[in-house]
Amino acid sequence: MDISSLHPLVLALLVLGGLALVFGAILGFAAVRYKIEGNPIVDQIDNLLPQTQCGQCGHPGCRPYAEGIANGEEINKCPPGGQDTINSIADLLGVDAPELDAEHGTESELPTVAYIREDECIGCTKCIQACPMDAILGAAKQMHTVIADECTGCDLCVEPCPVDCIEMREVEVTMQNWKWQLPSPLAAVNSDIIASDRQTPQETKQEDTAA
């Protein structure tokens, strides 16, 4: 049968159908060949979370919360990460950054680490079992101590201690972790001063004392 003898409409349908099959096959192949394993967005969110594994968000760890966020959960449930983490997740997901949800806790000013008052420790190993980071050293009936470098300050060990010998201490500022502070933003009192208004320090001090 001569192909030209076909009705033009039939011919067109055949050609289009053929094309659809070809492209469909290509797309199908590409989908299999370039398949992405896992959910990359979860990894990205997980990377932004502070990995304290504290569970304050209501999930048993940071990764489950990352999965929760990927499934549409609120992004403001992470007090250890604070506003910075919320902002970066908001950036990643292209949403507005909400305020930290106070229901899950408040952002602490300074990072803390657990500290065991060692002479009070009875060596019950309860805190060791609670620590998600394996950051507590010790054995049954032996004194325990916290590896401060590995402690994320999740305070999960405080609750199980039967003798309340664990406290959260602020991380001490040392030469190694000290950093300059940002200058305080332009103060409102300075807004009416122009560059030519430079005062001598004495004058400023006098004004201060007068005030």
């Binding site: 997980d46 979370l49 502070p50 990995q51 304290t52 594994q53 760890g61 940071c62 990764r63 910075d84 998600p132 980071m133 394996d134 950051a135 470098d149 590995e150 994320t152 500022v173 040392t174 030469m175 972790n177 000290w178 950093k179 300059w180 502070q181 940002l182 200058p183 933003p185 332009l186 103060a187 300075n190 807004s191 001063i193 122009i194 560059a195 208004d197 430079r198 005062q199 001598t200 320090p201 004495q202 400023t204």
Partner: protein, 878 residues
């Protein structure tokens, strides 16, 4: 040959203010009473103290050793005693206190013998680096980078240029200027030594700003003078001067000025074949190697309007700033603040006790007029002066915005990390914005964020590892548990198999034990019968003797005896009635177990020679049986029951084979069937109860021998009859046997079943075992019920031939009892003991195996063994 100079991009020209400190000559300061040596005077790991409190130290003695490769040693700068190792104020921008070794000077200034080196150029690279390392030399220009590290560049980098930095571009500071004037020869010698250490680069450039003509002149003079000496590489040394501009003294800026090359972003000068050393460092290295003198003093500029005199001084490291300033007539009242370093890059010291350290090139104590407080910052007007001033070619204004917004990504994209914090942008800002403070803070934040990120990655790893470890431990536990369970099941199955194959063997488990007990019970009815008969005989004998006595007796004795005779009579009657009852019962049950042929009542004669009530009970029982046989509703019920039993059996089999999910349904079906069966049995019982009423009509009818009947239906009927006629005890025993076979099957299945089905099977087996127990209990109860029937037994020993079913059964039971009785007590005992011993042995084996495997059931096994042993003891004592 004059060196080509490349222009510096950006830069500013702040007031130089260098004249003040150049007015007076270099002087050597006295020794303070107390010297403080911070352990962290350099970039990198703090040194490790090697002295203890109370140790006497000499000048040049190492008091702290380098802690790792990226560290530097610290030496005492005078003789004295270590008075403390504690936190003291140190010169650091943070104002924090740091660990220090405090030496109380004795004023003698005794020093160790410095081990010099005649020909340092003869030493190899490693030896020289080690000497520098142990001399504790760190960059003296201000950064404090350990020199040994800097002079040991990565092996793949080909160093072609050595630059000696004599720029000293910061205002006020003249320490290097003075050094170049005073020690120019040592600088030239030092730089040739550095060139030697660096494998003789092509060029050795000493860069000096053109605002230090005296220093330049001194250097060139020394160069000419030393050219006569045979210093290797001195011909490659050049003194290069270039226009003064801040911050041309920056390492990267100096490289650019002298070579035109730019250090790549994030790279090191060594990456482009250049090493830069400060002139002060060069001299220190020369002294350390040539004369063996470690870094214990330095030239420091002490300047500012709050001083009576300003100038440079050779200061022993560790001297408190307060002490140094006092030597220059410090007036604290007029001092605006104490600055370590220059006005551009220095930082305020909150505590004047902070000591002079290796990097302290200047102490600046300006008056309020000299250095007023910074004007309040105002809004950025986007003038762009800062961008023009930036020597690193950055966009300070953009960085300012991003720093305020804490946009770290943007800051990094704008190369914040290439900022050298020179402060040129702040200097030119018309709005007095402390720009460099923003950059310093942002850099700190970014580093902090990086550290946190690293930590969080490590935390994630640790957390995930922990999760994995816990999972693995769980899996191991589970596997162990399964293995134990399997072993226990295998042992159980084995025991069950043993019990199944050898029923006579000692029961190794509850099933076998139950079976053994049941077997023992089976002989009981006969025994009971025998006992009852004996009781009747006794009663009759007593009666006879009582009658004899009564007849022989006279008078009042006769009345007495009469009452006794009557009593005996009553007792006999009582015993007889009991025997009668028991016989009646056994007549009902015996046909099933006894030979059917003998149960044929047709051959039985009603002339049984029983002394009392001889005909009635037996005949009645016979009749009853016959009657029951002929009863049509009863037959029906029986048929129903048998079919129900079949169905029940099948259903139970199915249930045993079914999957877990189907099993529930099956079991429900089985339960239903059982209920039906129970109902039917009840019905049958009722029918049975009605049966005695039809006694009279039934007597004539002949019972059917099931075996002799041809018709299968009839036979089935007969069998059903038989079953019906079974005594409750027999019924129970039958059901017990059925249960035991089921149990054996179930156990077999459980042993061969898959692991996942095993728990279900196990449960089924346990259920069966429970059922068996309840059945056993019922049997025991029944036995107990029969017990009271004993005394009523009347003897039928005299009756000779068994004439009907009941008597036949009785006869058989008697025979059995006799057989057992023939077996002597001791024999019985022996058999029991033997079986018990066997059981104990097995239990012991099982226990041993269990202990070996660490089985959970060890305790249970041990308990069982102990029980068995107790039993054995009891038996043996009997």
């Amino acid at each position: 040959m004059s060196q080509l100079i490349y222009p510096l991009r950006g830069g500013v020209h702040p007031p130089e203010n260098k004249q003040q400190s150049l007015q007076s000559p270099l002087r050597r300061l006295a020794i303070p009473r107390e010297l403080v040596f911070p352990l962290a005077q350099h970039i990198g790991a703090p040194a490790k103290a090697v002295v203890e409190i109370g140790d006497r130290v000499l000048a040049g003695q190492m008091i702290a050793e380098p802690n790792g490769p990226f560290s530097a040693a610290i030496h005492a700068s005078t003789s004295g005693t270590v008075s403390a190792i504690e936190a003291r104020p140190i010169p650091h921008a943070s104002g924090l206190w740091g660990d220090c070794i405090v030496v109380a000077a004795d004023g003698k200034d005794e020093s160790i013998d410095f081990e010099g080196c005649e020909n340092p150029f003869g030493l190899d690279h490693e030896a020289l680096i080690e000497k520098i390392r142990h001399a504790g030399i760190a960059g003296m220009g201000g950064a404090g980078f350990p020199s040994a590290v800097k002079l040991n560049p990565p092996p793949n980098s080909n160093i072609d240029t050595l630059i000696i930095n004599g720029t000293e571009c910061e205002p006020y500071i003249t320490a290097d200027d003075v050094l170049m004037q005073e020690r120019s020869e040592d600088i030239i010698r030092g730089c040739t030594l550095l060139a030697h250490i660096l494998n003789s680069p092509d060029r050795i450039l000493i860069g000096v700003e053109d605002n230090k003509p005296k220093a330049i002149a001194a250097l060139e003079q020394s160069l000419l003078k030393l050219a006569a000496e045979d210093l290797p590489g001195i011909d490659r040394v050049q003194v290069v001067s270039f226009p003064t501009k801040y911050p041309s003294g920056g390492e990267k800026q100096l490289i650019q000025i002298l070579t035109g090359k730019e250090v790549p972003s994030g790279g090191l000068p060594a990456h482009i074949g250049i090493v830069v050393q400060n002139v002060g460092t060069t001299v220190a290295i020369w002294e350390a190697i040539k004369h063996g003198k470690p870094l214990i003093e330095r030239i420091t500029t002490v300047v500012g309007e709050s001083l009576k005199e300003q100038g440079n001084a050779i200061v022993k490291l560790g001297s408190p700033s307060q002490f140094v300033l006092e030597q220059f007539g410090f007036q604290e009242k007029s001092c605006a603040r104490l600055i370590a370093g220059g006005p551009m890059m220095g930082f305020s010291l909150p505590d004047s006790r902070a000591p002079i350290v290796k990097t302290s090139n200047c102490l600046l104590v300006p008056s309020h007029q000299e250095m007023p407080d910074p004007a309040p910052a105002q809004a950025c007007i986007r003038c762009g002066h800062c961008a023009q001033a930036c020597p690193a070619g950055l966009l300070p204004q953009q960085l300012y915005w991003y720093a305020q917004a804490k946009e770290h990504d943007r800051l990094l994209a704008h190369n914040l990390m290439d900022c050298i914090e020179c402060g040129a942008c702040s200097f030119v800002c018309p709005s007095s914005i402390p720009l460099v403070q923003y950059y310093r803070a942002s850099k700190g934040e970014i580093r902090q964020a990086e550290i946190e990120k690293e930590k969080s990655d490590r935390s994630r790893q640790r957390f995930e590892f922990r999760q994995k470890r816990i999972e693995r431990a769980e899996a191991e536990k589970e596997a162990k548990r399964l293995a134990r369970k399997k072993a226990a099941e295998a042992a159980k199955a084995k025991a069950a198999a043993n019990a199944g194959t050898a029923k006579t063997a000692p029961a190794a488990d509850p099933v076998a034990a139950a079976m053994a007990r049941v077997q023992a019970q089976q002989s009981d009815p006969a025994e009971q019968l025998a006992k009852l008969e004996r009781a009747v005989n006794n009663a009759r004998n007593r009666l006879n003797s009582a009658e004899e006595k009564w007849q022989q007796a006279e008078g009042d004795q006769k009345a007495k005896l009469e009452s006794r005779f009557k009593q005996a009579q009553l007792r006999l009657q009582d015993a007889e009635s009991k025997l009668h009852d028991f016989k009646q019962q056994s007549a009902g049950e015996n046909p099933a177990t006894s030979n059917p042929a003998t149960t044929n009542p047709a051959s039985a004669k009603p002339t049984a020679p029983l002394n009392i009530d001889s005909d009635d009970p037996i005949e009645r029982a016979k009749a009853k049986a016959q009657q029951r046989l002929s009863m049509s509703p009863l037959e029906k019920a029986e048929n129903n029951l048998s079919s129900l039993n079949d169905r029940l059996k099948k259903a139970q089999e199915k249930a045993g084979e079914a999957d877990d999910d189907k099993r529930a349904a099956m079991e429900a079906a089985v339960e239903k069937l059982k209920q039906k069966k129970a109902a039917l049995e009840k019905e049958i019982d009722e029918l049975k109860a009605q049966a005695p009423l039809k006694e009279n009509t039934a007597t004539a009818e002949s019972p059917i021998d099931p075996d002799s009947i041809e018709d299968p239906i009839e036979r089935a009927k007969a069998k059903a009859m038989q079953r019906l006629n079974m005594s409750p005890a027999e019924k129970l025993q039958n059901s017990l046997q059925a249960l035991q076979t089921r149990l054996a099957k179930a156990e077999e299945k459980a042993a061969t079943a898959d692991e996942d089905k095993r728990p279900a099977m196990q449960a089924a087996v346990e259920k069966l075992q429970e059922k068996i127990k309840t059945v056993e209990q019922e049997i025991a109860e029944f036995k107990a019920q029969q017990e009271p029937a004993k005394p009523a037994e009347s003897t039928n020993e005299s009756s000779g031939v068994p004439l009907d079913a009941a008597s036949a059964a009785i006869e058989k039971a008697k025979a059995k009892a006799a057989a057992q009785a023939q077996m002597s007590d001791s024999e019985k005992h022996a058999a029991q003991i033997e079986s018990l011993q066997q059981r104990i042995q097995k239990a012991q084996q099982r226990l041993d195996k269990a202990i070996e495997e660490g089985n959970d059931n060890v305790d249970a096994f041990r308990l069982g063994l102990e029980k068995l042993q107790a039993k054995l003891k009891e038996l043996e004592s009997e």
